[in-house]
């Protein structure tokens, strides 16, 4: 059993929760004064519970606080980068490179092994948020409060026109959601105990993905593949969805309505629908900052081929960049170049192309051609194959 995985989940929760507690304590946006004390206290209590569930040590807790301070400093640097001069002087890829260096590469180098996974996972989101924050034209005065909010607190990473102002509604019921996030973490721990060690291995004993069946997947038949892969996908899902729930719940208590990050993704009706449901924040970021500019670019349009070709170019660019970002993360985690994430994402883009062609060629709407259950089942297999190929690369196997 890899206990590091639970520590990683708790650390992940901590890195996402502490900025909210800080914002609640010092931000000018807390409606009630009592929130400035109560919400940080609640955040810390939830965090302590998560730490207790996962067996996090005091030393790790201290490291987490230092990591939070680092990211706070980085968000202030992002605040310094914002402005018309930077947007006009530097091309978008250079700004993205700067944000990735600041929020992903540098912290991965500073914070070593025991906390590396959560630092990279959280740094990935922060880097995308920071990029959005720097390149989007502001509609309100930006202060260090806004950089703290939009880079570290608000989990929606696409900082676009509709969300350029900090909009607070009345406090929402979020306590149940917070405990739902903790329950999700608990479920992940229970799952860890029942996942069968399909391929016991001394080699990967210290690895997060010890006993992952795809270490030797050629030996597995179809059923073995499903039995081996699905619990790991569920484990990963419970961990990330739990952190998202806690974040959404805390922000709800603070009075901010945040879009859902996961919406029952494994019930998706087609391969494109999966990305409307799974980690929507990153999907939206890619749509807004990669897909739309590429699909709408004059270069693509002048090449001819109509909207279909433009769509395909945009999708390829978005999935290609996502693959490259995962290559970068895997490289930071395991110190080696592994192109499997890029292959996985480009293969998924090809699946989307095939699905789109199928819809175009089908004589009637998809519901009439393929029963919905069969479509969902086929999509589930596509997603499991994608995850089954991607996870070992992201786990260092």
């Amino acid at each position: 059993m890899p206990p590091e995985l639970l520590t990683a989940f708790a650390f992940n929760l901590g890195l996402r929760t502490l900025p909210i507690a800080l914002f609640a304590a010092v931000g000018r946006h807390s409606r009630r004064r009592s929130y400035r004390v109560a919400l940080p206290a609640l955040s810390l209590a939830l965090l302590a519970t998560a730490g207790a569930i996962s067996g996090t040590t005091a030393e790790l807790g201290a490291t987490m606080a230092i990591a939070c301070l680092y990211f706070l400093g980085a968000s202030l640097v992002a605040h310094g980068l914002r402005g018309r001069r930077v947007r006009e002087a530097l091309p978008a890829p250079v700004i993205l490179g700067l944000c990735l260096s600041l929020f992903l590469v540098l912290p991965a180098w500073v914070f070593k092994r025991s906390v590396l996974v959560p630092v990279v996972v959280v740094g990935f989101d922060y880097a995308l948020s920071a990029y959005s924050y720097v390149v989007t034209k502001p509609e309100q005065e930006r202060t260090w409060h806004t950089s703290l909010f939009f880079v570290l607190v608000d989990p929606v990473v696409a900082y676009r026109k509709r969300s350029v102002a900090i909009q607070r509604n009345s406090p929402r019921p979020g306590l149940a959601r917070c405990f739902g996030g903790l329950l999700s973490l608990l479920a992940a721990e229970l799952l860890l105990h029942i996942i069968p060690p399909t391929i016991p291995s001394e080699t990967f004993g210290s690895n997060l993905f010890a006993n992952y069946p795809l270490a030797d997947y050629l030996l597995l038949d179809y059923l073995g593949f499903l039995i081996g892969v699905c619990p790991w996908l569920a484990l990963h899902y419970l961990g990330v969805a739990g952190a998202a729930s806690l974040q959404i719940g805390l922000l709800g208590l603070l009075g901010f309505q945040v879009a859902e990050r996961f919406q029952r993704p494994y019930l998706a009706s087609d391969p494109a629908d999966f990305w409307q449901r799974y980690n929507r924040y990153v999907t939206d970021w890619l749509k807004y900052h990669v897909f739309a500019p590429v699909a709408g670019s004059r270069l693509i349009r002048s090449a001819g081929g109509g909207q279909g070709s433009a769509w395909w170019a945009g999708v390829s660019a978005a999935f290609g960049l996502n693959g490259l970002l995962h290559v970068l993360c895997a490289g930071l985690l395991f110190g080696r170049l592994d192109i499997r994430p890029l292959v996985a994402f480009l293969a998924y883009a090809l699946v989307l192309l095939a699905a789109d062609l199928f819809k175009r060629l089908a004589p009637s709407p998809r519901k009439g051609v393929v029963p919905q259950t069969a479509a969902s089942l086929a999509t589930f297999h596509v997603v499991v194959a994608f995850g089954g190929y991607l996870l070992p690369a992201m786990g260092g196997l």
Binding site: R160, R162, Q276, F291, A292, G296, G308, W311
Partner: protein, 82 residues
Amino acid sequence: MQDTSVHSLVDYICNYLATALELPPDTLGPNSDLECLGIPSSVVMALVGELEDRLGMEIAPTAFFDAQDVLELAQGLVAERR
């Protein structure tokens, strides 16, 4: 000549999206939140193409992602056309 007023454009976009998303025709209106609808990018691009033909101008797909609802999208497109 096509009617390119905001009102007609709202109706056109709502009908198009309702058909593409297989929703009942009356479920969409000017205040329908585009983000909540979860519109696939392929539908966005197809709609952009239809609107370009209708309005006779190039439309950046970002306009679609920037708009909060159908009404804001239609208003933005009509303003850009002028």
